[in-house]
């Protein structure tokens, strides 16, 4: 691991009108690269995630699958999803690591109304700061990958933070560290893209003509990318084909808000002008008539 420690310059802060003061240090963007063709679904990453982040044990049950939990939760930030699928008469067992992809254009952050509840660092990590979270769950709606999970207990939202405490110390995330088959690589985004290309070549040579790199443009690319053997079956891996950060909607909302603010101001101004123009209207005499 040749990545520097103390690499947490802030790039974006939720609900912050101005971008955070950019750091003066030049820091590489980091990324994880999940090679689905190497993943054996052992869940070591799932458990390492829970262990490193001290996440609670949940009472799970077998629902007719090798999958441990039905869904992600505030206490489970990484879930291996299992899906049996026949393609051209051949059985496939799609096993996908479901966790935050750390979008370059983070829909959660754009949607978040609480200043500082979601922070994006220059290295690409999108982190939730629960102390600033107001529990509105707008991030849940804003996420195109359906990742953040709301805790009814704490009324805050949680998700993978890419082991930011490890990354800050120059270490790889726990899931990367533990993966027995090196299915999860970690490094700079540039290196991971180059590695992804190599992996694509390997897959093509193995006969996976439709193999693909999953680094979707709609969210500006991600800091967890996938190499997918069957690139024509993205939804079967649980990967949306064209995820968007709802940047448009959020930008529209921002425009609405601005217009709203102007209208509000205009309303007050109008009443003031009206008052100045016509003044108060009082009865001629307080006890007039009778």
């Amino acid at each position: 691991m040749n990545l520097p420690a103390n690499n947490l310059a802030i790039k974006r802060i939720s609900a912050s009108a101005e971008p955070a003061t950019p750091g003066i240090r030049e820091m590489p963007e980091i990324a994880k690269l999940v090679d689905i063709s190497r993943c054996i679904g052992c869940k070591a990453c799932e458990i390492a995630c829970k262990e490193w982040n001290d996440l609670k044990v949940e009472p799970t049950y077998n629902f007719g699958s090798y999958q441990s939990h039905v869904d992600l939760s505030p206490d489970t930030w990484l879930l291996m999803r299992f899906n049996e699928l026949e393609i051209d008469g051949n059985l496939n067992w799609f096993i996908t690591k479901d966790a935050c992809l750390h979008c370059e254009e983070p829909g959660c952050l754009y949607a978040c109304p609480a200043e500082g509840a979601i922070v994006q660092y220059e290295n690409g990590i999108v982190d939730f700061n629960q102390e600033n979270c107001i529990g509105c769950q707008y991030c849940v709606a804003g996420c195109p990958f359906d990742i953040p999970r709301f805790s009814k207990e704490t009324r805050r939202v949680y998700k993978c933070n890419m082991c930011i405490d490890r990354v800050e110390a120059g270490l790889e995330p726990a899931c990367v560290k533990t993966c027995p088959t090196n299915a999860i690589a970690y490094g700079t985004k540039d290196d991971m893209l180059a590695l992804a290309d190599q992996k694509l070549t390997i897959l093509n040579n193995r006969g996976f003509a439709k193999a693909a790199i999953y680094d979707p443009e709609g969210v500006g690319g991600t800091h967890m990318m996938y190499v997918v053997p069957h690139g024509d079956h993205l939804p079967d891996y649980g990967l949306p084909e064209k995820p968007v950060a709802q940047q448009g909607a959020m930008a529209a909302l921002a425009v609405f808000k601005r217009i709203g603010a102007y209208m509000f101001g205009a309303g007050i101004l109008a009443t003031a002008l009206h008052y100045l123009a016509v003044g108060p209207e009082s009865p001629d005499s307080d006890n007039g008539g009778g």
Binding site: C42, E46, T60, G64, Y66, E84, P180
Partner: protein
Amino acid sequence: MTNHWKDIKNTDVILVMGANPAENHPCGFKWAIEARDGRGAKLVTIDPRFTRTAAVSDQFMQIRPGTDIAVLGGFVNHIIRNGLFHDDYVKLHTNATFIVGTGFGFEDGLFSGFDEASNQYDQKTWEYERGADGYVKRDYTLSDPRCVFQLLKKHFSRYTPEMVARIAGCTEDKFLEIAKTICSTGTADRVGTIMYAVGWTMHTTGSQNIRNAAILQLLLGNIGRPGGGINAMRGHANVQGATDHAIVAGILPGYLKVPNPSQTSLQAHLEDSTPEPLVPDTVNYWKNYPKFMISLFKAWFGDHATAENDFAYHYLAKPPGDATWLSIWDAAYQGKLEGFITLGFNPLLAGPDINRLFKAMSRLKWMVVIDPFMLDSAEFWKAPGMDPTEIDTEVIYLPATHWVERDGSFTNSGRWAQWKEKVIDPPLGVKSDTWILSELFWRVKELYEKEGGAFSDPIRHLTWNYINPREPTLEELAKEINGFDLKSGKLLSSFGQLKDDGSTISGNWLYSGSFTEQGNMMARHGTADPTGMGMHHDWAWNWPLNRRILYNRASADKEGRPWDATRPGIQWTGKEWVGDVPDYGKTTPPDKAGAFIMTEEGVARIFNPSPFFPMKDGPFPEHYEPVESPTANALHEKVPNSPAVHYYDGVEETLARNTKDYPYACTIYRVVEREHFVTSNVPYLVEAMPDFFVEIPEELAREKGIENGKRARVWSKRGSVEGVAMVTKRIQPLKVNGEIAYTIGIPVHWGFVGINQGAMANLLTPFIGDVNTRCPEFKAFLVNIEKV
């Protein structure tokens, strides 16, 4: 493993069969993935289920449980038919050229020499034909009808693709597609490996499954080569070490033999156990057997082992029967066993036919369970359905340290003994197992000394020279295992230094060299890889003599040149061998001895007639149906099951011989989230795989009205289990002998003790074992199923 984990990256073809390494050996499995992606190796999985290993394999073929020999035999036939074997290798390094005597034959499912009364073979009829010089006759043209090659060809000619498909339930096309890959390595520039585990051993034909794999690899010239070999993946971090130190019945440490009643003197035992060479110019390393055995006696009994008393040979029991696991259980069941001690093991859940084991345990007077966790075995008397008032067994549970609470060594599947450090302190009051066993020893010894008793010498004369004799350190034990020269007091650096005159000791000759005057070789952490083959000779230490690939002489041709120069094992420079630690004298020229130094033939055995390492069920493998089989034996209907299987008293009634009541094959297995039963105490792992389940093919589930995620009941003639139904595409219906055959799968990890409980898979399994090892037939038996 003949090779080692990292070496798998050097291969061109990986056959995973009788194993599910992605599930059970995920860390080692990375090297298979490395070969696949790094070298473009083909990863092929053959299994009754589409496993997590299959999910990342290039090719997969589903077979019916217990038909491995049919498939492997099919490969052998395919190779011979199409001339795909590595001709030079086969002639140089195997006994294909050896002539077998006229007495050998095979007819209607039986090899020659079968005695119906005892269900045993007389192996005499399988012997080689000797020449006038006393050595075995050979035919290097491989054309003599009685040479091993021709016998092999004839034997496996019945294993046509059509026959394989009929038995195993695959299609002929699929078989041929897979065979094309597997049989593609019979050339000098290609090499293939086999990864197997208990999916092969846990059958009545378990040993022969592995023999068949060896034959396949020998024909393809893959044994002894980097990237080749047949690689047994052991169940946990130290199963290999436990085996080396004689956890397996029938051996003493270092695979020495347990004396039998006819061997009334040390001389007789040594004569029976020390082979004579069958060819000139061969190492025949087992000729050193007396040195190993006498050094072991000296380690155990010290000054009480002298030439005059046969080195205390008579202190050893000479049991008439075997002490296999099944036989121990059977003795308990028959009321012939007073008690037993179990250590680091949960025998109740891990044994076949748990209802039988409940009865066996109930008939013990006492039982001691030593383990870090409370075990089902220790609480069998209060298991669901048991009535504690009717059980007199006194159970003593002794909490012991966990391996993270101690230092010591682990020997991995690749024979690497790796020293580990203690990580955390044990809970207050918990004692180490060495403390417990030492105390046991001292207290028994003190009782003998105080009260006397019959034949107490073996106990009273046991050597126990440790700094703290009540709790030896593991370093002390490691040194004792390595061995000393008694005259100089120096640690030995090789088993080559062992003597048969009582001047050396070694607790396990195989481990000589592991702890030398240079220090603890097992604790080395050098990562250098000068061979570039991932051998890492400075990392830890492996037996024998830090040799990373067994039989590595076979990685080179007649002149000592590597078959593949890009992947050398060892090579002859003209003066010496370089590369791996040679399986050979460092300066012994290539033509001076056979590559397979441990056989009396000097070559590998495609045909095994050896009286020293006999196969009780035939010199060649043969497909026999599991004892509980859903179909007839398509090769020989009259001999459906392995004829030499031992049936314990009263077991026959517990076996399902009709397929009307028990129509479906069932197999049991493990999942990656759990390790046997111990992980029922680990919350995160319980969370990751929370419930006992039953894997059911979609078609069968439909037929039975069983829905995914709902519950199903599975029962055999011995017991019944209930769990979550997992209806899956990953087990397909197969066409076997013209009929549709279903397979059901269930995992083993659940019991009635621990934070997470569930049905015990072994309630279903049959109390029957492999002919040679008595390893239970967990992997193929018959059941029925219904929705709950």
